[in-house]
């Protein structure tokens, strides 16, 4: 059967008779290598990169100054106080951990589902995951007060003869997040070894050869190596899939296992995971659209990739919206006056603006993605994705601050307002994130070349082989 040829520059067709091409350039190994490597091998760093780096690294400096000040003065420099003992520190933590979910999801879950389109974006998303988890890890580490004894979180034999309490979700969180960070890093690095070898073999200068060669570990792309490598990759994907679902579930236990009205709900684990995927994909889109244009990767990261990601955003937006509605229903149905109050207070209390920002950004705005036009127009999707991330930040703010500021006992109610240090740390964490990201774009292969090559050579163009 011959099918009508589609224009190679538009691979967004959903004609089921025709397999849309994965990439819009020729499925040629040398071309793919060249496209990805030339970004890294460019002789002169573009001025725009320097400009972006200057901005982001100065924000990073602000972050570390703020942290230094925090160490000197104590957590009192933040706006947190009883009853709102958790505030922006934990909001930012949950926000960043959530962002960090897309990477592993794309690399692991889509890998298990044999979604070959993931190959163009997985490296990028995994890098984003790791940087987001780094940003996330900072907040709980510095919020403990005496930072220099942070190692007390770990179970190690000590002269105090004490052990951490393993029945506390906060300790589960330590294990979940550190396991997640480790496994994501391994997954990312393992996936990158063949590409680092490519960069090593193309290296023109001695230093490049040494640096990439060191991290490529002597990879020769031999069949015996590939055999074990693919096995390991599959196993890591199979391990990372339940892991990624567990991490945000465990993060949600921090809240759900407590008694606070608005926190003590069984819907939290799935609702948090959906929200995490939602925000993570939004962040990937936010970064991917400018990066693919700027670094000339439009043929590898095609509009169809963005289209697919926007569909995931739309789906998770609906799940999140459904979860918001369910929370209200259960609050009413529970017959518990505290639960009911907690939710009415979210919508109508002193933080109503945060609540409605969240609803508009997370539930209303993404509905435009039902239109194909919006899913395939870069500037529209970037705006939607940025708003989604704003909304997801506010979601965590709403959950944490509204519940704590007004719980069971009206006499202990309070109001929370952030300080300048809080703001500096949030902005600074974005600075750190973008700094790491810019370094990644400049020095590491942004697209998993070997995987794209494998994907296109097993399914070249629109050729049906099954």
């Amino acid at each position: 059967m011959t099918s009508p040829a589609i224009a190679i520059s538009d691979n967004t067709s959903s004609d089921p008779r025709q397999r849309a091409p994965l990439i819009t350039c020729a499925p040629d190994c040398a071309l793919i290598t060249e496209t990805v490597c030339r970004v890294v091998e460019r002789e002169k760093t573009p001025l725009a990169w320097y400009a972006a780096f200057a901005v982001s690294s100065s924000f990073t400096v602000v972050m570390f100054l703020a942290i230094g000040y925090l160490f000197l003065r104590g957590v009192g420099v933040w706006g947190n106080n009883i009853p709102v003992a958790w505030a922006w520190d934990i909001v930012n933590f949950v926000f960043w951990v959530g962002i960090g979910h897309a990477g592993t999801l794309i690399s692991a879950i889509l890998f298990l589902f044999r979604q070959n389109w993931r190959t163009s974006i997985n490296r990028f998303a995994e890098a984003m995951t790791i940087f987001a988890v780094m940003c996330a890890g900072i907040f709980p580490a510095v919020h403990i007060g005496r930072v220099w004894v942070v190692y007390w979180l770990a179970p190690y034999p000590n002269q105090m003869q004490m052990w951490p309490n393993f029945r506390s979700p906060l300790l589960w969180d330590v294990f979940a997040v550190s396991t997640y960070a480790t496994v994501s890093l391994l997954f990312w690095y393992l996936g990158m070894i063949p590409d680092l070898a490519t960069l090593r073999d193309r290296a023109a200068s001695r230093w490049r050869k040494l640096a990439y060669g060191l991290f490529a570990l002597g990879w020769r792309g031999s069949a015996r190596q590939w055999h074990r490598y693919e096995r390991a990759y599959l196993l890591l994907a199979a391990l990372a899939t339940p892991l990624v679902l567990s991490v945000h579930s465990v993060v949600s236990f921090d809240f759900a296992v407590s008694q606070v009205p608005g926190w003590h709900t069984t819907i939290f684990p799935p609702y948090f995971v959906a929200g995490a995927i939602f925000s993570g994909f939004a962040m990937v889109v936010t970064l991917m659209v400018p990066a693919r244009a700027f670094f000339g990767l439009k043929e590898l990261v095609t509009i169809r990739h963005l289209d697919n990601m926007n569909k995931v955003i739309l789906a998770t937006s609906c799940i999140v919206g459904y979860a918001y509605a369910t929370e209200f229903f259960i609050a009413w149905y529970s017959g518990s006056q505290y639960e009911l109050f907690a939710f009415l207070n979210r919508a109508r209390g002193p933080y109503y603006w945060a609540y409605w920002t969240m609803v508009v950004c997370n539930v209303v705005v993404p509905q435009v993605l039902w239109l194909k036009k919006c899913r395939t127009t870069p500037w529209i999707m970037v705006i939607v994705a940025i708003l989604v991330n704003v909304g997801m930040w506010f979601e965590r703010f709403v959950i944490i601050v509204t519940s704590l500021s007004r719980d069971f006992l009206p006499s202990s109610w309070g109001h929370y307002a952030p300080t300048r240090i809080d703001v500096a740390m949030l902005l600074g964490s974005f600075g750190l994130f973008f700094t790491l990201f810019l370094l990644f774009c400049r020095y590491l292969p942004m697209v998993a070349m070997a995987e794209v090559k494998a994907a296109v050579s097993h399914h070249p163009g629109s050729d049906h082989r099954h």
Partner: protein, 437 residues
């Protein structure tokens, strides 16, 4: 070609053929060639491609890797470690009851167990994949070839190493050519493995030694005895703007930061209907002459024995087990009658170290003639003699009832030391007489 040969050490000498490589046009050609090479009986050989080629394992005869089993084992280990860790730390070594939760319960332990299963398995998968593939391995014959660089871009290669028993320069290159290789090349390496210059090792050893200095310095500083307080980099909450117990303060006339309770304050549980039992004095302020008993209590043997027991703990170290050397024992070794503290203090005072007021002999008329209330007060508040505290007060250590019991025992001691022969019960008298030499 010569310029890609590693030239770390120019004295390595002649080059030796280490492998033959052939480049093929496509993945399909590579697979077909691999089958042929396998059938020729080569063992030290490999196929190289920029991406994994499906099914090439079978063409080459590579046996499935044991990696999955390693990962499975690591996962089980992770589960066991997690469960044992949580059980031992929280239920055995440091049982700590929180909100009535059981010390060991699987549901609470599942999250950490799950995470450790994943962590252990992932580490095993990663390390296993590398180590089973003998990575990292920075030195390999194929790296001598300039063209081999294409293996990570778009080239498909077969490499046969010279260590293979079947290897023969002519035959092997001939085979690769016959299989349709687009180009065939012999990779040559220096006969001796390249060695790093000796200066590198010297520098490395030096660096390690220098790196050890700071930790050694810290360890030494921590261990060595110091006159001054040690550096205290992290204050934690050790230094706070507040007064600690017994600190001085300019604010109050007596210069003390601790404030005494307002006169007439009664501490919780010390309000007593009979103030004589608390102070040893009656309403008029005179010492009581008999022991004021609590309602229902009686002077009995149990009370004397209690007093004896407390006396031996609190008083005997200074006053001696019998309350001091009675006058009748003059001429005997005085130390025999004294408590350990007295003996030592007296010896040191004799040697010019410190001062020591010898304790009063409790069986003496001086003490025994005092009213019971006065003895009770001495025990409670101690003795201050010419502005020097010669005996500490025991109100804090010894509960009130016990202090009265000690008073009773002091009386018993007094009787025993000052008894006339007629007062001693006949059996005891006979026994003690017969014992005396």
């Amino acid at each position: 070609m010569a310029d890609n040969v590693p030239q770390l050490d120019s004295s390595a000498g002649a080059l030796k053929v280490a492998a033959a490589i052939g480049r093929f046009a496509s993945a399909g050609a590579l697979k077909a060639a691999a089958e042929a090479v396998r059938d020729e009986g080569y063992r030290h050989w490999d196929a190289h491609s920029p991406y994994p080629i499906h099914g090439i394992e079978r063409s080459m005869g590579i046996r499935p890797t044991v990696l999955p089993w390693l990962v499975f084992g690591a996962g089980l280990t992770g589960a066991a470690v997690a469960i044992l860790l949580q059980w031992w730390t929280n239920a055995v070594d440091y049982p700590f009851l929180i909100s009535g939760k059981p010390l060991f319960s699987l549901p609470a332990n599942i999250p950490v167990a799950f995470e450790l299963v994943i962590l252990f398995s992932a580490l095993a998968a990663f390390a296993g994949a590398l180590l089973l593939s003998r990575l990292p391995q920075f030195h390999h014959p194929v790296f001598a070839s300039e063209e081999f660089r294409r293996a990570t871009c778009d080239g498909f290669f077969i490499s046969i190493e010279a260590s293979d028993p079947e290897f023969d320069e002519v035959k092997t290159t001939g085979l690769l050519e016959a299989l349709g290789a687009e180009s065939v090349e012999l990779c040559r390496l220096p006969a001796a493995a390249p060695r790093l210059p000796r200066a590198f090792y010297t520098a490395a050893a030096l660096a390690v030694c220098l790196a050890l200095l700071p930790p050694l310095g810290v360890a030494w500083y921590r261990a060595a005895p110091k006159r001054q307080p040690r550096i205290h980099p992290l204050h934690d909450m050790a230094f706070q703007p507040k007064y600690k117990a017994q600190a001085a303060s300019d604010l109050f006339a007596d210069g003390r930061a601790m404030r005494p309770p307002v006169a007439g304050t009664v501490a919780r549980g010390e309000l007593d209907e009979d103030p004589r039992r608390a102070t040893g004095k009656d309403e008029a302020g005179n010492y009581v002459t008999s022991i004021p008993l609590a309602p229902g209590a009686a002077i009995d043997k149990a009370m004397i024995l209690r007093g004896k027991d407390r006396f031996r703990i609190y008083c005997a170290p200074c006053h001696g087990l019998a309350g001091g050397m009675p006058e009748g024992a003059a001429g005997e070794d005085a130390e025999k009658w004294q408590g350990m503290v007295s003996i030592r203090a007296a010896r040191r005072a004799a040697g010019g170290e410190g001062t020591w007021t010898p304790p009063r002999v409790l069986t003496s008329a001086y003490v025994q003639d005092q009213p019971d209330g006065k003895l009770f007060e001495t025990i409670s508040r101690g003795v201050v003699n010419q502005e020097v505290r010669t005996m500490p007060g025991y109100a804090v250590q010894i509960p009130r009832e016990d202090r009265w019991a000690i008073v009773l025992y002091l009386r018993a001691l007094g009787r025993s030391q000052n008894a006339s022969a007629g007062e001693v019960p006949p059996p005891v008298r006979e026994a003690s007489v017969s014992e005396e030499p």
